[in-house]
Symmetry: C2
Subunit: 349 residues, 2 copies
């Protein structure tokens, strides 16, 4: 099959890779579209030690099922009804877990120490004709959502994770740092709460887009709009925000967040900055700041928000590129200023 | 009056300082005993930019009251009953706040941006014959507690703050890093919850002491003892602890905490390490760790715990030194291995 493969040095388009065989309890999925995420670009720089097929944001069709064996492979409700998945349009959660370890037993299965992660850790990813995922990871996509929209479920779920970790309500003063693809999604998700929201960025067009989309998000929930988009350079440095979400992708984002959060406020770290930064944690203690690391989130909530049109993702698509032409996108600085780039993998006829 | 004064370069015993005059709403307190804290030693290294009289852990007698004026000085219940404080044995909260700013209005007065802090920020401290504090900061000490015990109320309150910030219960797996004076107090406070507690340190005698005191703390609350004291070098590095409290006082403590906390667990930062350390926050995001800065705490809870003999502090006193002889204690490395050093300020006859 065809795939974008990272060998530890470069990302290459290959046509000589075998179609994978689903393990017991897994589905073979024919991918239709996939999204490029900052994590993919970081992996392509070699930072995470992954080699294989990249990609973890996708939508595709279930083509084949490998029934769970009787020999101890965990069988959830999904697996028991395996056959019903055939032909369905799905996306899937990216953490493939053992179901048996201490963390799985404690309800922390997305942190299972034995986990593989689609396109990130010991499991080939979605920038390919086909991928395999456990049936219990799958989520069906409602018919009225496009493939393009469905490819956003994974990052949108990651944005919704913030609402599960930190109380954000109408009276909350929140800041999102970064007007890139993740900052845009996080801003819309926070806007659905009706909180007083400030998005801080560097790009006029992206800030204007966020303004429009967040107004839509608040309108969809019939909350009053309290959104403002601010250029980084124009931001008054006042430590009076309850919650600051760092979506900058830079280690400096944390320091910026510290300069904006109020005492006993919360900083949410959403992006993994590759570089280590010198950091004095004394202000965190003195001002009793809470820092919350935030990663994967609830797919069901993301799908519901897309289906209800509370969140708009199509305007965030900068380009849609055929798989065969996409390898150059992973060179450093290849797509400056782009928001979401989607890979077209199967023709949608 | 006599006092230990830091001029930005050295800590000196002086006898030529004027007795302070309490501002409206404040009390003049004749200090009987005071405790040396890591923060005092850090200030004496010049890290915090404070000059003046050091010290913020104390017990003393209210000698004089300056009634609150009618001209807008905030008057709490304490101030209205000002006269009742005269002659009382008290300790006091260290943050002196404006009562009017946004943070005070939001119930975050201990973080008031206009605050002065006893012996730490724009307010002379407790290593002196007398100090001044607002009446509303004062807490009366029960008669059956000694001066030595009462001098521990402030750091013990800081230890209790952890229980207000992080849920810790019987099934919680907690680690306290550091067997020094703060680590000892935090361990006893956590032990009162009956949680599964590990104290990690470098000193045989301190670990043995903690073992004895924590057994007492769990016994006082009739919870079953689940305490172990472990040498740092003997600690199995397993990321399976729900809560890790860093009381090491070193920037490296945070990295050690990261190596012990489970995914979605909590690290409590209790000490302000002076040096900035290179720090990669990516693991915080990937494992969704929560980091909580923790500073001052509830004096009433600390006094209750001392009065009920749930927490033992007298065994933590390494030495008791007359004020006039105490300046050399602030030289770097002056008291290696000491737990709490108290300053005897007035003779207790």
């Amino acid at each position: 099959m065809r795939a974008l493969h990272f060998d530890g040095t470069a990302v290459r388009f290959r046509t000589d890779l075998p179609t994978p065989a689903p393990a017991p309890g897994e589905a073979l999925i024919r991918v239709r579209a996939a999204g490029i995420c900052q994590t993919d670009l970081e992996i392509a720089k070699g930072y995470m030690g992954f080699t294989g097929i990249l990609g973890h944001e996708f939508v595709g069709i279930v083509e084949k099922i490998a029934p769970a064996s009787d020999a101890g492979v965990p069988t959830g409700a999904s697996a028991l009804n395996a056959a019903r998945w055939l032909g369905k349009r799905v996306t899937g959660e990216i953490n493939c877990v053992c179901g048996k370890c201490d963390l799985c037993a404690r309800g922390l299965s997305s942190h299972c120490t034995a986990r593989t992660v689609l396109g990130i850790q010991n499991r080939d990813g979605a920038f390919a004709d086909c991928l395999c995922l456990p049936l219990r990871n799958l989520h069906e996509i409602p018919d009225h959502l496009s493939d393009d929209e469905a490819a956003f479920v994974e990052p949108l779920a990651a944005a919704f994770q913030i609402l599960r970790q930190v109380p954000i309500e109408k009276r909350t003063r929140a800041v999102v740092l970064g007007d890139g693809r993740l900052g845009q999604l996080v801003a819309q998700v926070l806007a659905t709460t009706g909180c007083a929201l400030t998005l801080v960025g560097h790009h006029e067009s992206k800030l204007a887009l966020a303004e429009k989309l967040c107004a839509g998000a608040t309108a969809a929930r019939q909350t009053s709009a309290q959104f403002r988009a601010v250029f980084e350079r124009d931001l008054r440095a006042a430590r009076d925000h309850d919650v600051v979400v760092d979506c900058t992708g830079h280690a400096e984002g944390f320091l910026r967040a510290l300069s904006l959060v109020r005492p006993r406020g919360t900083i949410v770290l959403k992006t993994t900055a590759a570089a280590a930064a010198p950091l004095n944690l004394a202000p965190v203690v003195i001002d009793e700041i809470t820092i919350v690391g935030s990663r994967c989130g609830p797919f069901d909530q993301a799908i519901r928000a897309l289906a209800a049109r509370e969140v708009q993702v199509a305007p965030l698509i900068s380009r849609s590129v055929p798989l065969a032409q996409s390898a150059p996108l992973f060179a450093p600085g290849a797509a400056p200023g782009a928001l979401k780039i989607l890979l077209r993998i199967q023709d949608r006829t």
